[in-house]
């Protein structure tokens, strides 16, 4: 029976070609949308690697200033923060927290191979402010003042690339410019771009006000922040008081304040924009293809009234006729999807986007197959019920 359906579609492949292409295009765009969505969902289920609740930030917004002046003002801001009992800890931070569009990376060498690692420069209390768990070693502190090489903290993803299966603490890493750093600590995930973005390789450098001002060379006032953790339940009123206080200290800075939970929300919204647009376009495509499919199935059923009458005369039951109409539509969809699957398979095979696992591609392809079959089935429902009403005696009447 299935062979019959293949035969009917195959023998009319030229007439059915357009529809197969339509199915192919909608299958493929569904595949892309589902891949994106499943990828984002799988990211969402992973830990962020830090806690953002009750963490506020000051965006200093300094401009062209001597770095010694900046350091001095930063110190005064920190003294000011010390006076608030509501503030539990604070730290300098330059890490693009919840700024998904921005990245800052540097190239390190691994056996002569170049690997880009995301960079952050943060203070000694950074791990306390964000409740970051150490997997090995420790976070920065005063002991790092007198070191031959600058200390860094790396995360799991860097470890897996550079020191697979090893404790990286004490290891030395070299960047493209020949600068060496010593690994002093290991942390887990650090997905600073938001809940829907993937794992990334992260390396932190030390930058605190107790150090000489050199490290401020590469910091800018736009993306630097002073993060601080407040007691739960702290109010907007406190936020305003701090803002006024800081404005008084740093008169030349364009100080802004914010909360990480709000930054997170807007980062997540930003990340959702593209997939939502993709889903809308894909939705329109699918509606079009569904209408097209319905039209083709309907037209084919009408065109074949006498064939259906004949098949009934030769022993086909009503159920069989319905199954044939639906089955042929499914076969048509299958042909379109085979082309689509061929292209979809290239993604995991060629590793086009290596950060997405084959499992995600596979689930997306599977989901797309199910959806296309479901749509096809629905589109065939009405034509097949019409076909089952064909009276063989009338359909076979001599024309």
């Amino acid at each position: 029976m299935i062979k019959q359906m293949f035969l009917m579609i195959w023998n009319r492949k030229r007439q059915n070609a357009l529809m197969m292409i339509g199915v192919f295009i909608s299958f493929f765009s569904l595949f892309l949308v589902f891949t994106t969505m499943i990828y984002m969902l799988s990211n969402y289920l992973k830990p962020l690697g830090f806690e953002y609740e009750n963490v506020w930030y000051i965006n200093p917004g300094w401009s062209m200033e001597e770095k010694d002046d900046i350091l001095e003002t930063l110190r005064q801001v920190e003294y000011a923060l010390d006076t608030y009992p509501e503030i539990e800890s604070y730290s300098f931070s330059n890490t693009f927290l919840f700024i998904p569009a921005a990245t800052n990376s540097r190239t390190y060498l691994r056996d002569g191979r170049e690997v880009n690692i995301n960079q952050g420069t943060v203070g000694d209390e950074f791990d306390d402010v964000l409740n970051i768990q150490m997997l090995a070693g420790r976070w920065f502190d005063e002991r790092d003042n007198a070191r031959a090489r600058p200390p860094v903290v790396i995360n799991d993803q860097v470890r897996d690339e550079f020191f697979p299966g090893k404790n990286p603490v004490g290891e030395i890493m070299v960047n493209k410019d020949g600068e060496e750093v010593t690994v002093i600590g290991l942390i887990g995930e650090f997905r600073n771009s938001g809940d829907f973005t993937g794992s990334k390789q992260m390396m932190f450098h030390r930058g605190t006000t107790s150090m000489p001002s050199d490290w401020l060379d590469q910091m800018d006032g736009m993306f630097s922040r002073i993060l601080f953790r407040v007691k739960p339940g702290s109010t907007r009123e406190l936020e305003q008081r701090i803002q006024v206080h800081i404005n008084n200290i740093a008169k030349d800075w364009k100080v802004k304040m914010g909360r990480l939970d709000e930054a997170r929300e807007s980062a997540n919204n930003q990340t959702m924009v593209l997939p939502i647009i993709m889903a809308i376009i894909c939705g329109f495509l699918i509606i079009n293809v569904a209408l097209g499919l319905f039209g083709v199935i309907w037209y084919n059923t009408k065109r074949r009234t006498s064939e259906i009458g004949l098949r009934r005369a030769l022993g086909s039951t009503i159920t069989y006729v319905q199954r044939q109409i639906t089955g042929e539509a499914m076969v048509l969809a299958t042909f379109g999807m085979i082309i689509g699957l061929f292209f979809a398979l290239q993604f995991p095979l060629l590793g086009v986007m290596g950060f997405i696992s084959s499992q995600i591609y596979l689930s997306a392809a599977l989901l797309s197959v199910v959806i296309i079959y479901a749509i096809t089935f629905l589109c065939a429902l009405y034509p097949s019920s019409q076909a089952s009403r064909i009276e063989p005696a009338i359909a076979l009447h001599n024309e």
Binding site: R12, L310, L314, G315
Partner: protein, 221 residues
Amino acid sequence: MIQLSSIEKVYRTDSIETLALTGVNLDVARGEFLSVMGPSGSGKSTLLNIIGLLDSPTSGNIVLAGEKVASYHDRKLAHIRNQKIGFVFQSYHLVNDLSVVDNVEIPLIYRSMSGKERRQRALAALEKVGLSARTKHFPSQLSGGQRQRVAIARAIVGEPEIILADEPTGNLDSVMGQEILAILKSLVKDMGTTIVMVTHDEPIALETDRIVRLFDGSQVN
């Protein structure tokens, strides 16, 4: 083989009632070759459709090969059509999208049978009608007489006990008509098939065992 008693068929459309058949009684013996004649609109096709279980009579009884089919439902009727009856139509009714051999296989699709056996039987049926050389052709590549021979191959592929032919020579010239008739006659002779054939052609009808004439839905004898 075929017993019809007091068959009546009324077609009702919104306003018109057409009496297509009234009080038809017919007994066709096993292995008989019967022709049905009559003017256009006299109910010949209706009669054939009723015998072939494609249409049900408004009243009356049908017994086919010993089975009282009146109360049967779609599945069972389809089964009887498939197993016991072969159809041949004036306009062939071949499926243009299928090759000759695939067309002949159609009745066997509705039986449980391996694809290989289906193919073997279809080729054997095509050989009987002298079309072994055309099995991969499509209907559009054949002449009218060849198409009708394909249709006959399709009718006999399931080895039915009854063949119903509605003006099988109506679209053919007399030479081709004679060929078709010869094939049908050989079926009766070799296989003991029972044939009911509607025809307009008096010489062809005269070559069959018996002629039944219809006029305005009634038998005239």
